[in-house]
C-alpha cells in the first residue's frame, strides 16, 4: 500500500530552506504526505527536524521552497493559519495551562468536549475528570490530553513530536492503536520518534533529514532500521551498540548504596536493592510505580516514610539535596527543565554545584573553574556553538549539560532518570559510553529508563519495580524485552529475597 511517490499528496513541501544568520538550519528539505499515510520524520539532533516542523506549523517562515497543501501553495504565517489549513501539532512539551482545569483548557482551544472525552477514554484514561487541575496531572496524562485534543479537532494532518517519549508501555500501545485508526480513517500523520520499534509497527514511510537536507524517503519494511540509522548518521557510523557480557562482582565488597524497605508518598511501598561501585543498575517500571519517589528520596528532594538508606554501609538521611550531594549522590532528573538554568551559559550551568556550599561563595578561581568546565564539556562532547544561553542548545546537548555538571563536580554515585528521553541516536550512544566510562572509573550508577532495550545497552543488572516494590532482578545480558515487560506488568513476581543472590556470577 505504500509508494515512494504518493498519489496526489495532501501535503507536499519541496526544497524548503531556512537560515538563522550564518547558520543554515535547513538547506533542501522535502516532505510529502498522502491522505491516510503515516510518515516518520527522522534525523539526528541538529538535522533540521524541529525547524521543518516549526515551518509546517507556522511558528517560523521558510526562506525558499514551496509548501503545497491539497495542491495549493500556502504560506503558513502563524500557528492559527496552520490549524485552518488542517494541520494540528502535538508538541513534546504539554501545551495546557497548569492553573486551569481540563474543561477550561478545552474552552480556550474551542475543543468540543464529547469527542475529546471519547478519545481520552480510547487512549487509556477513562477516569479523567473535567474538573481536574492540569497542574496536578502527571506528565503522561498531559500528553494523552494533548493528543485527544488534537484528534478531537479532526485535522487533516496530525503532527506528533515524540508523542510516546514520556509514556509508559501500556499507554504507548493505546496511542499507536489510535493513531493507526486515525490514518485508516483517512487522516495523515507526521510522526517524529526516536523509537524504531514504534516506527516499524506504525509508519508507512520514513523521511530522513541530515544536515538540513532530505537524504532519504524509504518505505518501511523489515530490516529498514539499519538503513535509516546509516542515512541519519552519514556513512560509516552505523552499527548497533553491543550488549555487554555480565560482569563479575567482587565478593565481599560493601555496596556503595543499600536501600532497604524504602517507602514514600502513596506509590512507593517497599523497595530494597544494593548498588555497587563500578556497576550500572537499571530500573524498569511502568509509569507511576514508585520509581520517581525512589529517585527523589535518594536525591534528597523528598522525605521517605519508612526504610533505610546506607551509603558505604553508613546510615544516611537526606533532608535537602545538599545532604545527598555531600554523601556523593548526584541526581539528573528526567525533565531537563527541572535541572537547567535556561537563560544562563553552559559554563554557569556546569559550575553550579561547585558554588553551592557556603564556603564557596567567595571569589571564584576563574581559570581553575574554566579548566574544570572545559574538561567536562570535552568529555561529553557538548556542542558549544550556542553556549551563551542553554535554552539555545538542542535537547541532546541540554541533557549532556545536566550530566556534565556532575562530571565536573566529581562523580561518586549518579542517579540518572531516563537520561535519553527524546534525544537522538548519536547522543544516546554517547551517553551509554559515558555511563560505562564512569562506572569503569568506580562510579555507581542507578539508571531508570523507559526504553527496555537500554537495559542491555547501558546496564549491568536491572531491577523491575511494580506497585511500589521490586518484583524482579536480572542480569542485563539475560534481560529480554519480553521478560522485562512481563515483570513490569507484575507477571513474574519472584520471591523478594533476591538481595542475597550475590553469587550469580
Amino acid at each position: 500500500m505504500t509508494q515512494i511517490l504518493p498519489r496526489s499528496p495532501l501535503l507536499n513541501a519541496q526544497g524548503v530552506s531556512k537560515r538563522f544568520g550564518a547558520v543554515a538550519a535547513l538547506k533542501d528539505a522535502s516532505l510529502s504526505l498522502a491522505k491516510g499515510e503515516i510518515v516518520a520524520l527522522m534525523g539526528a539532533n541538529g538535522a533540521g527536524k524541529s525547524t521543518l516542523v516549526k515551518i509546517l506549523t507556522g511558528a517560523l517562515r521558510h526562506d525558499n521552497g514551496q509548501i503545497l497543501i491539497k495542491g495549493q501553495d500556502r504560506r503558513i504565517g502563524s500557528p492559527r493559519a496552520a490549524r485552518r489549513a488542517g494541520l494540528v501539532p502535538v508538541y513534546q512539551e504539554p501545551s495546557l495551562i497548569p492553573d486551569l482545569d481540563v474543561r477550561d483548557n478545552l474552552r480556550l482551544g474551542d475543543t468540543p468536549v464529547e469527542p475529546f472525552l471519547h478519545w481520552v477514554s480510547e487512549l487509556g484514561l477513562p477516569d479523567l475528570r473535567l474538573d481536574a487541575m492540569i497542574g496536578r496531572l502527571p506528565l503522561a496524562s498531559l500528553r494523552i490530553l494533548d493528543l485527544a485534543r488534537a484528534i478531537a479537532a479532526e485535522p487533516d494532518v496530525l503532527l506528533l513530536d515524540e508523542m510516546t517519549a514520556a509514556l509508559p508501555a501500556d499507554l504507548v500501545d493505546r496511542v499507536l492503536t489510535v493513531v493507526r485508526a486515525q490514518a485508516d480513517a483517512g487522516r495523515s500523520v507526521i510522526y517524529i520518534s526516536h523509537r524504531f520499534t514504534e516506527i516499524s509497527t506504525l509508519c508507512d514511510r520514513a523521511t530522513v533529514l541530515r544536515d538540513g537536507v532530505t537524504v532519504g524517503d524509504l518505505p518501511i519494511e523489515p530490516g529498514i532500521e539499519e538503513r535509516i540509522v546509516e542515512l541519519m548518521l552519514g556513512a560509516g557510523v552505523a552499527s548497533a551498540a553491543q550488549s555487554r557480557p555480565p560482569k563479575p562482582r567482587p565478593a565481599g565488597q560493601k555496596p556503595r548504596l543499600s536501600v532497604r524497605g524504602l517507602a514514600a508518598g502513596t506509590k512507593l511501598t517497599d523497595v530494597s536493592f544494593d548498588l555497587h561501585a563500578g556497576e550500572v543498575l537499571g530500573v524498569v517500571a511502568l509509569e507511576g510505580q514508585g520509581q520517581d519517589e525512589v529517585f527523589d528520596v535518594l536525591a534528597g528532594a523528598r522525605k521517605s516514610l519508612r526504610g533505610t538508606v546506607l551509603v558505604k554501609g553508613e546510615p544516611a538521611h537526606f533532608a535537602h539535596p545538599a545532604d545527598a550531594i555531600a554523601k556523593g549522590l548526584t541526581f539528573v532528573p528526567g525533565d531537563r527543565a527541572h535541572a537547567l538554568l535556561m537563560q544562563r551559559s553552559v559554563r554557569e550551568n556546569i559550575a553550579l554545584p561547585l558554588l553551592a556550599r557556603l564556603r564557596n561563595w567567595g571569589p571564584i578561581a576563574m581559570a581553575a573553574e574554566g579548566a574544570r568546565v572545559g574538561a567536562a564539556i570535552e568529555r561529553l562532547q557538548i556542542d558549544t556553538r550556542a553556549q551563551g544561553e542553554v535554552r539555545r542548545l538542542s535537547g541532546g546537548n541540554q541533557q549532556k549539560v545536566t550530566i556534565a555538571r556532575w562530571v565536573a563536580k566529581g562523580v561518586d554515585t549518579v542517579l540518572l532518570f531516563d537520561p535519553t528521553r527524546g534525544i537522538d541516536v548519536r547522543t544516546k550512544r554517547q551517553i551509554y559510553d559515558l555511563v560505562r566510562d564512569l562506572a569503569d572509573q568506580g562510579a555507581a550508577v542507578l539508571y531508570y529508563t523507559s526504553e527496555l532495550a537500554e537495559i542491555r545497552l547501558a546496564c549491568d543488572r536491572a531491577i523491575v519495580i511494580f506497585g511500589g516494590r521490586v518484583v524482579d532482578q536480572i542480569e542485563a545480558s539475560a534481560a529480554s524485552d519480553a521478560h522485562l515487560m512481563r515483570a513490569a506488568y507484575g507477571l513474574t513476581e519472584k520471591d523478594r529475597a533476591t538481595e542475597k543472590d550475590g553469587a550469580t556470577a
Binding site: I325, L341, G388
Partner: protein, 319 residues
C-alpha cells in the same frame, strides 16, 4: 519552543550595555541642543552627584531582582538609618552612631529573608510589609529622641556635597562600591547563585544550594546597601526627615529595570543599572528644562521609561 533571535538581537543580548550608552549620549546631546552650553564640567559633576545615591539604592533592587525578588523596603531602610544616625550623633558620637544606625537596616533585611525564604511570602509583599512596619517604628522612635535633636556630621556632608578637582567626593565611595558589586555578581559564588536562583530555583536546590542561606544574606546585604545610601543621601540633603529617601524607591526600581535587569530574575546586572540611574537623572533634568506643566512632566517621565524598557527588552530578546 524558543524563538530564534536575529543576529542583531543576539549581538545586543551579548553586549546589552551598548544601546543604553547610546541612549544616554542621545539624551545628553538633546539637552545640549535644547540649552546650548549647559553641558559643562559643573553640570556633569552635579548629575553624577545626584545619580550616585539613586544608583546605590538601585543596587538593592538589582541584586534582589536577579533572584526574581525586589526590595521595596530599601527606601525606608535608608531613611531609618539616616534618621537614627543623625539623632544618635549628639549622644554617641559619629563613628558609633553610624555603626548603631545600620543595625535596624540589617534587622529589616533579616526579617525580609525570613519571610521570603522560610514563610515563602512573595518578596513584593514581604518587603512592602517590612517597610511599613519600619516606618511605624521610626515614628515611635522619633517621639523618644525629639529632645536630643539631630546633627548631620561634617564628614558625611563633605562626602555628599563636596567636590575635589571638579569631581564629586561621593565618587570616592561609589567607585569602589560599584567595582565590588560588578565583580561580585559574576566572579563570586554568591553572585552566581543569585542568577541561578532567579533562573530556576528548583534547579539550584537540586544542585545543592540551600536557598534560604542565599535569601537571608541577600536581603541583609540589601539592607546594608540601603543604609549606606541613606547615610550618603542625608549628607547630600543635610536635613534628616521621616521620609528622606522614600521618594527615591520607585526611581530605584525604574533604574534597575531601564538598565536591563529582568524583574523575573536571572538576567541583567549592575552595569546596566548604573547607566539606568544616569539616564533617569539626565531625563529628569531634560524634562525640567522643557516648559511644560509639572503633571505633564510626570506623564512624559513615565511614558519614556515604559517605552525605553519595552524597546530594550525586545532588542535583547528577553520576551
Amino acid at each position: 519552543m524558543t524563538k530564534e533571535p536575529s543576529r542583531l538581537s543576539r549581538a545586543l543580548s551579548d553586549y546589552p550595555l551598548i544601546p543604553l550608552t547610546l541612549l544616554l549620549v542621545v539624551l545628553v546631546v538633546a539637552l545640549e541642543l535644547l540649552r546650548p552650553g549647559i553641558v559643562n564640567e559643573r553640570w556633569i559633576a552635579n548629575t553624577i552627584k545626584f545619580a550616585i545615591p539613586l544608583a546605590m539604592l538601585a543596587a538593592c533592587q538589582t541584586l534582589t531582582m536577579l533572584t526574581g525578588g525586589i526590595d521595596l523596603s530599601a527606601g525606608v531602610a535608608a531613611t531609618v538609618v539616616a534618621f537614627v544616625m543623625a539623632t544618635q550623633v549628639p549622644v554617641l558620637g559619629v563613628p558609633l552612631a553610624i555603626a548603631v544606625s545600620l543595625i535596624p537596616a540589617i534587622a529589616m533585611g533579616l526579617l525580609n529573608g525570613f519571610g521570603i525564604a522560610i514563610c515563602r511570602v512573595h518578596p513584593l509583599i514581604m518587603t512592602l510589609g517590612t517597610g511599613l512596619v519600619a516606618t511605624g517604628c521610626l515614628q515611635v522612635y522619633q517621639r523618644f529622641v525629639i529632645a536630643s535633636g539631630s546633627v548631620v556630621p561634617e564628614s558625611l556632608a563633605w562626602l555628599g556635597t563636596g567636590r575635589t578637582l571638579g569631581l564629586p567626593n561621593s565618587l570616592a565611595l561609589f567607585l569602589p562600591f560599584a567595582a565590588l558589586i560588578l565583580l561580585a555578581q559574576r566572579q563570586t559564588g554568591f553572585g552566581r547563585l543569585l542568577y541561578a536562583i532567579g533562573s530556576n530555583e528548583g534547579a539550584a536546590r537540586l544542585s545543592g544550594v540551600r536557598t534560604w542561606q542565599v535569601y537571608f544574606t541577600l536581603y541583609a546585604l540589601s539592607g546594608v546597601i540601603a543604609g549606606i545610601t541613606g547615610l550618603l543621601y542625608v549628607g547630600l540633603i543635610k536635613a534628616p526627615s521621616l521620609s528622606l529617601v522614600n521618594p527615591m524607591l520607585l526611581p530605584s526600581v525604574a533604574a534597575a529595570v531601564v538598565g536591563g535587569t529582568s524583574i523575573f530574575g536571572g538576567r541583567g546586572g549592575y552595569g546596566g543599572t548604573i547607566l539606568g540611574a544616569l539616564i533617569l537623572t539626565v531625563l529628569g533634568t531634560l524634562l525640567t528644562l522643557v516648559q511644560i506643566p509639572e503633571g505633564a512632566r510626570g506623564v512624559f517621565f513615565g511614558l519614556i521609561i515604559l517605552a525605553v524598557t519595552a524597546i530594550y527588552m525586545r532588542l535583547t530578546n528577553q520576551t
